[in-house]
Amino acid sequence: MESAQEIAARFAAKKGNPVLDLYPASKLMFVLCMLVASICSPHWCFGFIVFIVCGILTAFAGELKGFLKGMRIILILFVGLLTVVRAFFYTGDNLHYFLQLGSFHMSWEGVAVGLGMGSIVLSVTSPLLMTTKTATVEDIVIALEHMGLSPTASFLVLSTFQMVPELNARSAVIQDSQKSRSIEVEGNLLVRAKAFFPMITPLVLSSFASTEEKSVALESRGFNYKCSKTRIRVITDTPAQKRGRILMGILTGIFCVVGGYFKWFA
């Protein structure tokens, strides 16, 4: 008969890749550290360094394409456009202008402010996107449960992720059936707006029945029963990763103190 360890080993969610198999709490700690460090960083290049590091880690996990696709709009909007807008509209004394378009002037100080804001956005979004690309929602939720998240909260998160594509598919079916009932979906704004209500209402009302069934199913399976829960998916934290997270926190703290001094006081 299999021992508990052998059963756990069979269901262990290992993929054989060091980045993919990293415990989700380590990735979340990385996100938190980058958020805090980016605020205290004295130079705008910090965010770009974080972006490159996350890109390398994601490439190592074989998810670079998805990562770059997700970062593309962020790079265009929050780095490119933000820098240009701040460069044109930044006001202050003794600005050094380098470009004039009509009555608008672009200053180096504005560029630096724009890049600084873009850097903070990059510092947070890069690790976040890396985490979502290299860890499944189930693993992240299990890790949060190990840290004390309630099973109800876990159910809410997992059920939400499952329900969105399900309801989208149902919505497409309802759209087609309403179109076949001569609901106009093309034309002027009023015609299109009128089509919205008959498309959303059947979806909402038909879903209430499944909501009721789900609540009965949860109760009948003892969801609210106060006991330790078992799970079929196993992820393991290692002592090395625990030490790594503590070290990450300490290094971030030191960076924040030193960087903050140079940013605000020096």
Binding site: G70, I73, I74, L77, F78, L81, L82, V85, R86, F88, F89, F104, G114, M117, I120, V121, V124, T125, L128, L129, T132, V137, T152, F155, L156, V157, S159, T160, F161, Q162, M163, V164, E166, L167, N168, S171, Q175, V185, L189, R192, A193, A195, F196, F197, M199, I200, T201, L203, V204, L205, S207, F208, S210, T211, E212, K214, S215, L218, F223, N224
Partner: protein, 206 residues
């Protein structure tokens, strides 16, 4: 006897929240596919907050923001905005504001004000007035016309949020009206929306 019929607690609210988050997304996708100039992405939050209370509304708002942030991380910053709107809707609904049409419009206006107050600092200080929606264009145009960053973001947010939130309030009002009494009786605030004949019948039975 109390004028509130008995209601099933907790589990049905827990089961309703993920569905409400999904409805928020479906509303947004439907509005995009119909090429409407609004988001319509808070219908689920309105329904849950109005029928179950401020806490489920808060949770729905947070989950919506988190889920949006999975594919587009900057959206996660607005989770607090969605959560605050859920709280406001729940609190107003518990006072009966979603029972009639005109007060429901009022809920939409109050939620607009809440959304403007909370999302403006996020958009202005965290993202420099830039978002992935058309708000950016309006904000940039206003800044070019001489407006400061904060006033430009406030004006652009009011222009887009006012119509959106009021319309969503109207849609949610009519959807709640269409929910069966059988289901409403199980929800924490469902007794507010029961048809008069049902309430009268339960009182007569006593």
């Amino acid at each position: 006897m109390s004028d509130k019929p008995k209601k099933k607690l907790e589990m049905i609210t827990v089961a309703l929240i993920p569905f409400a988050v999904a409805i928020n997304f479906v509303g947004y996708f439907l509005a995009s596919s119909l090429k409407l100039p609004m988001y319509l992405d808070s219908i689920g939050t309105y329904i849950v907050a109005a029928t179950c209370g401020w806490l489920p509304g808060l949770i729905t708002g947070i989950l919506t923001g988190v889920l949006e942030g999975v594919s587009y991380p900057p959206s996660m910053a607005y989770a607090i905005n969605c959560a605050a709107c859920g709280v406001v809707i729940g609190l107003l609904a518990s006072k009966g504001w979603m029972k009639k049409f005109l007060p429901a419009l009022g809920v939409g206006l109050v939620v607009t004000l809440t959304s403007v107050l909370i999302s403006t600092p996020i958009t202005a200080f965290l993202f420099g007035g830039i978002t992935e929606t058309g708000n950016s264009v309006i904000a940039i145009a206003l800044q070019a016309a001489g407006f400061g960053l904060i006033p430009a973001v406030i004006v652009s947010t009011v222009l887009t949020e006012a119509l959106d939130k009021v319309l969503v309030a109207i849609v949610a009002f009519f959807i709640i009206k269409a929910i069966s009494d059988r289901f409403l009786s199980k929800l924490p605030l469902g007794h507010l929306y029961l048809k008069k004949s049902v309430v009268q019948a339960s009182e007569d039975d006593d």
